[in-house]
Symmetry: C2
Subunit: 364 residues, 2 copies
DNA sequence: CTGAAAGCGCTAACAA
DNA sequence: TTGTTAGCGCTTTCAG
């Protein structure tokens, strides 16, 4: 079969040989230019680039991957839910991945079950990726997959992947501690906690931070409530809490749950923040406009993605060498109006935040 | 260079030849089985599958793509914002894409500018995709890229891509009409509209639906307000609207904006829904738990993704043949408590919805 | 129903 | 600084 290139017949897609011919160099040289390799004279480089442009040449990634053994893409296993947190994290990941010269492949899992994760990782591996990001997997069970690429666990200890696994997080424990401290600083005797599903590492880390903050001040540690991240589950928990007049402050492990919880409290006649203070977790900006505006703690998704990918890409590109050290993630408390000093107390170190609309931020 | 496979030395990754050897067949037969091609005896098929499993064989997608010219992956150009709508759509897309045997590649654009889109499409093409999904691009400008694969425009007329472009939407005009009708049915004389940025097709379609509904009943058409999807912009618009005592009903082009708008209204002493009714757009479930619970219209993301991908995949796999006809998308009105009959009217055809928490749904 | 040979378009190693 | 020679691992002809 003869293939007519460049004229007549079907206007077939140009390959590197066509570029080489037009630029008057070898295919290897074209390859060098396209990969930004050194040892190419400026003149040749320019000619190649011009030729490529003239032909509308686009590199064939499959061929490149096959020949080089590297796909230049990274796979992400994400939670298939459309929550603000999940979505923000994925957007942050995409930005950093693309900025690093990799392409992103995404696979969602229904709810992070080990089998799901294993399946997701497997499909990523089959598609061909140089590295994998697993974000926020759950605790239980064991993920059994044979991975031969580095894996980054975002917000969780390595669940599999042996030697080439790295970890990074959003600093959930610190954030949770800051939230709890905020309430304590306001003068509350103790702080209740509505956690996310405890099978999630994210939920556990926050519980941990809450416990630590309480313990550090020698406060009584109330029983834990567990929700499922949804506003509906927050509502249910709120009904329970409303019945207990001891409750004056609640740290909720997610903004949506906090909204549900506040709704139940209000419905039961417990006013927020007058009777009960509530602080959320995530930082969805829309909740600056509900009544009362929600005090919350913002998750540093961008910073976490940047940190994590630095590690992952290092592990991919320079295996064996020391991994770069992690920098500190920002802890950003967004104080709005759902938190205030307890009713019968004047202990608040700060003036009670009671403005009704925008948000004051403070670095903790 | 001799390569030791299967034992000794480095435990190299198995290839199809290893599977073939173990199963006692040719490589081509292995390929047949893996691709579910016909004309393979059940016995051989079983043997191949067993051999593959025993070896832990994983097909090399780069090689497959290079040889076959098909990558079996689809690229999505998404809006790089973490809003509920955007995120839901992407999750829906991922589900359908994966369910169809394709892998998903994602590229975000900052805000849908033509140049961004062109760049995103280009990078997708370079990575190798069999089809592209562009979701919710904006109106202005022209996208100039040479695409040689089918393109699906979700919620917008084809912006480029010539002959192999297909379109599908969420039925934004119908949804907007239903929202407007709901308010009219309640007895309001007319309905104001806070739109999204008019450079977005999504925003325009909703304006269109609102206009049509108003015109159909010969109602006066108030001036249009324009926001940017954010709650903050809704708040600003709400301040304006609060000053106008004629306003009794507002259809807002997004839930977040609706929340901001309600906040401004309430702040100005106009009660919702007592003085002003507000209906949102999207269907984020968390807003069932704010005060007042937000009436809204749910976008059929799953159905839209399913419809659109049916078209796209058809165009990829059976070019030339007739495209399957589109089925109707559901219009789902979620009536909660932010809408009610106007104060001085008893025209509401239905009992005024004033329950305070969950959501009643109705098919319109 | 199964197999043998010939590439897909690129990069790696080596040479010049 | 550049070119030559071999493949990467699979699918595609085309024969059996």
């Amino acid at each position: 079969m003869t293939r007519v290139v460049g004229r007549g017949g079907s206007p077939s897609v140009p390959r590197s040989a066509d570029v080489a011919r037009l630029a008057g160099v070898s295919r290897k040289t074209v390859s060098r230019v396209l990969n930004n390799e050194p040892y190419v004279s400026a003149d040749v480089r320019r000619r190649v680039i011009e030729a490529a442009e003239e032909l509308g040449y686009r590199l064939n990634n499959a061929a490149r991957a096959l020949a080089s053994g590297r796909t230049r893409s990274i796979g992400a296993v994400a939670l298939g839910t459309a929550g603000y947190g999940t979505a923000s994290l994925l957007v942050a990941i995409e930005k950093v991945v693309r900025g690093s010269g990799y392409a992103l492949r995404v696979v969602n899992t229904l709810d992070g079950e080990p089998d799901d994760i294993a399946g997701a990782v497997d499909s990523l591996l089959e598609q061909g990726v140089d590295g994998i990001i697993v974000s926020e997997p759950i605790v239980e069970g064991e993920v059994s997959v044979r991975v031969d690429v580095p894996v980054l666990f975002l917000g969780a200890p390595p669940a599999f992947g042996g030697s080439r696994a790295v970890t990074a997080g959003v600093g959930a424990d610190l954030l949770a501690g800051a939230a709890t401290d905020h309430l304590l600083d306001l003068g509350h005797q103790t702080v209740h906690h509505l956690a996310g599903p405890l099978r999630w590492y994210a939920a556990r880390d926050r519980v941990e931070g809450w416990r630590t903050a309480l313990t550090a001040r020698g406060r009584h540690q109330p029983p834990l409530l567990e929700g499922d991240w949804s506003a509906a589950s927050g509502y249910l928990a709120g009904r329970e809490l409303a019945a207990d007049s001891e409750v004056t402050a609640v740290f909720v492990s997610g903004d949506d749950m906090a909204i549900g919880l506040i709704h139940a409290l209000t419905e039961a006649g417990r006013r927020v923040p007058h009777d009960v203070s509530v602080i959320g977790f995530d930082g969805n900006p829309v909740f600056a406009y509900v009544t009362p505006p929600l005090t919350t703690v913002r998750q540093p998704f961008d910073a976490a993605a940047r940190e994590g990918l630095k590690l992952l890409i290092h592990t991919i590109e320079e295996p064996g060498t020391e991994v770069p050290s992690a920098s500190d993630l920002p802890v950003e408390l967004v104080v709005r109006a759902s938190t205030a000093p307890p009713r019968s107390s004047s202990a608040g170190q700060r003036t009670s935040p009671s403005r009704s609309h925008p948000s004051q931020r403070s670095q903790a």
